[in-house]
Symmetry: C2
């Protein structure tokens, strides 16, 4: 018992003088969130599966290889062009399983509802979860409902956890990424974040920008079925393409070079980003992934993606290069090389 | 697409004129929560696994039999005698797997943090999750952190989902309960709820009442190892013993008869319940379960429980009786028979 008390009294690994309180940026996918992960969660819960720092964890259970992942969804507003918190809660977790190259099978659903939420609103969210689950081919098999007092929530927060099965022997993992590999991005970036921000800021565009929110398993399955030897995959949610690649570079110990001119961003999204002061590289997507594949497989990966409705705008956006330091750099449209790093502050709070 | 839009526009199954808004009682484990489950979640997400209405879902994945469950924890205050939100978040989910007779293996952890939470407080919660996970023999293998604006949360909410493995061929399910079965309760009831309420209401007792919060798998494993043929099990959280048994009676289509005199309630807990106007039958526990076993196995079940530190106060508290209607009744200490039903209002908000 004494040992335990000593353990529990161990001093906080985040320097209290610098960060006495949790800030919005601690949930933003940038540097502060990574600090929380590296200094607090990983040392406390540390195990090989968590340390792999994948979007989900690969587990051996009773002879099967499973993927297991979770996300809470706190997006504001609850409904936005192209989706809502229910669509996100299903597709986001399905996509975390998909980029582990696992077939998504089962979801849990945990609702934290603020007292006073219109019952009709909850019903709309539940119906879109049902619809999204059906589209994605997953079943919601267990759940929980909590209600918190007025002013202690924001309508409804949804947590989903997902279980999938790995049906092949390909290891998809940052540690497999190597110099010469090619980055294939499944389509244009930045739409989800801008769709949400536009509603929040009351912006009107000539044509409404819709979230790209979609379940990506069928796209991943097409790549696997064609035998594309995927080294690593990420979906590009919180923190966008830039953050996903910095994470891969750090976890895999490799250097990634992006070509700015090759990264598709729609004109209206680019315009909105300029207006709002955002860099599209860091804006969240909910239906995009980047696959890192050997150069010899890149043409096939691109062809498979382009033949799929969710990858019709796919393009090769960079390569893994031979450099001493794990980092991400980008060659700009005018040829200059710049470092791409994690954001220090908060770009887009409560985007997913 | 039109079909989908029609689906989504389907009218809300909860009568809006009666319940235009979600109330605290919708999360309280009583009648309103059941209405939400029966009318909204089950029809929307309906599948055999969810319809089994167990504490967790039993899934066949790649040849293995898995249990999968989730709970969000929103207890107020975060720290209370005998535990905290972190201990609860691990043990609560471990226990939901245990009462499915599944060995708990892996947990996910999703944090929804309110901006401004002292970093030190988060660290205390994380450390107690780590400690509880170690004690329970589970690993936290995947996680997520979201931060919401000040005034849109309450310190921190924690969601855990759990995966366990069923290593035997006993089906533990309300549908297996039959007349003649015996109810074995693992110990005294009401401590968790009273421990939390005492802090919240600023009550002081001669001896502090501590939550019974504990991981119950080792107790269940002892029953299984001894070959006790468990028909059904429930842990007695939100809504207490009464609610758990009403759920079993309804799901299994059986009638349960409780003996009030046999139900252990500590004197100080009984006193606090009288003071606060609570019925101990409905007060939450976090380290108690009821096992429903064939009469021929009840002595063995009782002996195994009493030999285990978490079941030393076990007793036989009732039987399953032959009656036409599925319901729960209790013979009082003075011999009168009364119906035990779900609560209509909210007894103890945010107790877990």
């Amino acid at each position: 018992m004494e040992v335990v008390m000593e353990n529990l009294a161990g001093s906080c690994p985040i320097p209290i003088q610098d960060y006495p309180h949790i800030l919005l940026a601690h949930g933003g996918g940038g540097r502060l969130m990574h600090q929380l992960l590296e200094k607090m969660f990983l040392p406390a819960f540390g195990n090989d599966m968590l340390n792999a720092r994948h979007d989900g964890s690969i587990l051996g259970v009773g002879g099967a290889r499973l993927a297991f992942t979770t996300d809470s969804y706190v997006v504001r507003p609850l409904f936005f062009p192209g989706g809502d918190i229910g669509t996100l809660a299903v597709n986001g977790t399905v996509n975390d399983l998909a980029v582990c190259a696992a077939r998504p099978l089962y979801l849990s659903a945990g609702f934290i509802i603020e007292e006073g939420l219109p019952t009709e609103t909850l019903w709309r969210v539940v119906r879109s979860m049902e619809h999204a689950a059906r589209e994605a081919g997953v079943q919601i098999v267990t759940g929980d409902t909590k209600v918190v007092d007025r002013g202690k929530g924001d309508g409804v927060y949804v947590n989903t956890a997902g279980v999938g099965v790995v049906e092949h022997d390909i290891a998809v993992d940052p540690s497999r990424v190597e110099p010469g590999d090619v980055l294939v991005l499944s389509g244009d970036i930045g739409r989800h974040g801008i769709a949400v921000m536009a509603v929040r800021e009351g912006l009107a565009f000539e044509n409404e920008i819709e979230s790209d929110c979609a379940a990506l398993w069928s796209l991943v399955a097409a790549l696997l079925d064609e035998g594309v030897r995927i080294h690593c995959m990420r979906d590009l949610t919180r923190g966008g393409l830039a953050t996903a690649l910095v994470e891969v570079a750090e976890a895999g110990g490799v250097a990634v070079r992006l070509e700015e001119a090759a990264i598709p961003v729609r004109e209206d999204v680019r315009g909105a980003c300029e207006l709002l002061g955002f860099d599209p590289l860091y804006v969240a997507n909910e239906g995009r992934l980047v696959a890192i594949v050997p150069a010899s497989d890149s043409k096939r990966a691109l062809a498979v993606m382009r033949a799929h409705p969710l990858g019709s705008g796919a393009s090769v956006v960079g390569t893994v290069v031979e450099e001493a330091e794990p980092r991400v750099t980008m060659r700009s449209t005018i040829g200059a090389l710049r470092a791409v790093d994690l954001l220090s502050g908060e770009q887009l709070p409560r985007i997913c």
